[in-house]
């Protein structure tokens, strides 16, 4: 019993000593306090409790962090992760738990400890294509208030928007929409703002997108009748007749309630993108083919230029599987010239024993992205081969 009391006493002494030792550490003896201050401070830093994140003596992780950088923040901010990580669109740094990509863990001049001199500066560190791109800028964008329209962690909407695009526009511009569209043959419809306007900026007044449809330059009557209704496919095909043949195929992207599927992807009025696409091609396709994107986006082995879907897919129409431009060999051979010549036999007469279909590159490869080297569907060391070569 006496020994037990002694042990308890020694243990308490050690515990008190260690607490005094931590409390006594003044990190700022070596580290300049200025580097850790800002208008907004991270609570542990404000309290002088550097040890909540860092071990003062020795640590397994970089910067003497107590736990892995990707886990550390969520030990306190678990609610943020729990509530936001399961959304449809997750900002890659957030998905990777790379919080310091946007937040300064010590202090910042911005709310939410965001890096940069204003909120948007941090965003533009990665989104460099938007820097100095426009002569005329949308005020929230010019002020770096990206959060006015985007949620930086995650969203159920494309491009991390906090609401449907037109609802966002109307939330500020409600009163002026009708008055600034006088002479339009129809009421400005919902979901129409981004057809003509770029929400970040433009070189044209009123943020009208930079490239105008030739027909639109000449006025509305080229395509619309007096009632202003959306014209059907046939109107587009009057000029773009080469597309008609492609659309008349097993697979096409035709359906639109208006009866004109062209406007699913193309703006009939103005755009900032090639072929008057409504957005970058990857974004346009992802709007409907979200599952395809989600299936490869986190895979370690991805096809280069995977965002340019039209490299491989007949985007207007195709009679091939998966809407490929041609069969699973010819599509790949456009770039991979030697494929099939000195590798596994593929092509006419080489049949997959599982289904009798002609062996092609996509029999073994999943071109978007996989967890296996060379974008293989399964491990190339054996698992993939024994799918057919059972006696291997």
């Amino acid at each position: 019993m006496r020994i037990l009391r002694m042990m308890l006493f020694v243990f308490l002494l050690i515990l008190i000593n260690s607490t005094i030792a931590l409390a006594d550490i003044n990190c700022y003896k070596c580290h300049d306090k200025k580097d850790f201050s800002g208008r907004y401070g991270h609570q542990p830093v404000v309290k002088g409790a550097c040890y909540e994140c860092h071990s003062p003596h020795v640590a397994k992780y970089k910067n003497l962090l107590r736990v892995k950088e990707t886990e550390l923040c969520f030990q306190c901010h678990s609610k943020v992760k729990k509530e936001q990580v399961d959304k449809k669109v997750v900002h890659p740094p957030f998905a990777e738990s790379n919080c310091v990509a946007c937040h300064n863990p010590h202090g910042s001049s911005n709310k939410g400890l965001l890096t940069g001199s204003n909120q948007g500066e941090g965003c533009l560190n990665c989104h460099k294509d938007l820097v100095d791109k426009y002569k005329i800028k949308h005020p929230p964008f010019a002020e770096g208030d990206c959060g006015a329209c985007h949620n930086a962690h995650s969203s159920d909407r494309i491009q991390l928007l906090i609401d449907e695009p037109d609802k966002l526009c109307v939330s500020c511009h409600d009163g002026e929409i009708s008055s600034s569209h006088k002479g339009f043959p129809v009421k400005v419809k919902e979901r129409a703002c981004l057809t003509c306007h770029n929400p970040h900026g433009s070189d044209r007044p009123s943020l009208v997108r930079n490239v105008l449809h030739e027909a639109y330059k000449d006025g509305c009557s080229e395509c619309h009748d007096k009632a202003g209704a959306t014209p059907g496919f046939e109107k587009c095909l009057e000029c773009h007749d080469e597309i008609g043949e492609k659309i008349n195929n097993i697979h096409s992207h035709q359906t639109n309630k208006s009866g004109n599927g062209c406007i699913n992807c193309h703006s009939p009025h103005a755009s900032d993108y090639e072929n008057l696409l409504r957005n970058r091609q990857e974004q346009v396709c992802r709007k409907c083919h979200f599952d395809t994107w989600a299936n490869y986006v986190d895979k370690p082995f991805q096809h280069p230029d995977r965002g340019i879907c039209s490299n491989c897919h007949g985007i207007h129409g195709s009679g091939n599987l998966a809407m490929l431009k041609s069969d699973g060999n010819a599509t790949c051979e456009g770039c991979h010239e030697t494929q099939g010549k000195f590798t596994h036999p593929v092509g006419d007469g080489v049949l997959d024993p599982r289904n009798g279909q002609t062996m092609t590159c996509v029999t073994c490869h999943y071109p978007h992205g996989t967890v296996y080297e060379h974008n293989l569907k399964l491990s190339g060391s054996m698992e993939l081969c024994i799918q057919c070569h059972k006696n291997y």
């Binding site: 359906t255 395809t292 299936n295 009679g319 599987l321 997959d352 279909q357």
Partner: protein, 309 residues
């Protein structure tokens, strides 16, 4: 001594037999468990046979539709990759082919008029609904119209002297008489239908992007909209109504079939993406035949899989 040896050897024989019997039982039980597990993965559906191309003997090239003629107990397969139609008996025996000589251009779906035997085929390549009289080999392509606009026929069905056509341009369904006069429309309130099926006195249409099933009366009245809940569908493309009234949704990218009750609550899924039987690769359609068998149009694997319970 001899007696002892005899007794020992008899005992050993009995033990060996016993051991052999135990081994056999274990093996049988194992096999039974494995096959039950496979069936469970297939939702209890057991693969019976595949319909395959009669000339190639192995597989079709891009089969995209199956029509079941209940009256004549025939399957009709639309093989778009070879611009052909093929008929089979209900037991899978090949009967006839039509179209390999280049008459058809990108056939996509078909129905058969029971009394005359005429075929109505959607030809995507011509954007027509093409009437085929097999007796005199007469082929008559017709461009359809509805309310002044050209219709782009996609999926079709036949019921009570009417042809129902899904318009790929608008995503709405229009019914026509045999002389191709429009009768009624079944409008999508969402992003457009991708498939539909007629079961009893209802037309069930599926809006893939909205993940909603609309149930119409055959006169065109919307009676119910069912939101599919509880399962993350990837790229659903086709609908069938099962014998018990459940909604079967074919997911092209997942290679699976998800089952929902008629309130839209998710029940279970079966099949997976792949190439062997019980696996699907870019499938295009599902349909139940009059015997309650599940028929899957598996375009990527070039076959029509017939399953029963």
């Amino acid at each position: 001594m001899r007696k002892i040896i005899y007794c020992t050897s008899t005992l050993m024989k009995k033990r060996s037999l016993l051991a052999l019997a135990i081994c056999l039982i274990v093996l049988l039980l194992g096999n039974l468990t494995i096959s039950r597990a496979a069936l469970a993965d297939a939702g209890g559906w057991e693969w019976r046979f595949n319909l395959v191309n009669p000339e190639e003997k192995k597989s079709f090239l891009m089969p995209v539709a199956l029509y079941i003629a209940t009256d004549s107990k025939r399957f009709y397969v639309v093989e778009s990759g070879r611009n052909s139609l093929h008929s089979f008996a209900f037991d899978g025996t090949f009967l006839n082919s039509f179209g390999p000589e280049g008459v058809l251009k990108e056939p996509f779906d078909m129905v058969r008029k029971a009394d005359s035997g005429e075929l109505f085929v959607v030809e995507k390549g011509r954007n027509t609904l093409t009437k085929i009289n097999l007796k005199d080999k007469k082929v008559s392509p017709e461009t359809l119209h509805y309310k002044g606009s050209v219709v782009y026929p996609d999926r079709i069905a036949m019921h009570d002297d009417k042809i129902y056509v899904l318009d790929k341009a608008t995503g709405d369904i229009v019914s026509y008489s045999y002389d191709l006069t429009p009768i009624a429309s079944y409008e999508s309130k969402g992003q457009g239908f991708v498939d539909f099926v007629i079961k009893g006195s209802n037309l069930w249409a599926f809006d893939s992007r909205m993940r909603k099933v609309s149930r119409f009366s055959l006169e065109g009245k919307l009676e119910q909209q069912i939101e599919l809940k509880g399962e993350e569908l990837s790229f659903p493309v086709a609908i069938a109504i099962g014998p018990a009234g459940f909604i079967y949704i074919l997911d092209k990218h997942k290679g699976s079939i998800a089952v929902f009750d008629n309130s839209g609550n998710y029940k279970y899924s079966f099949f997976e993406k792949g190439h062997s039987n019980y696996k699907l690769y870019f499938p295009e359609g599902i349909i139940f035949d009059s015997l309650g068998r599940l028929c899957v149009v598996d375009a990527g694997n070039g076959r029509i899989g017939i399953f029963s319970r």
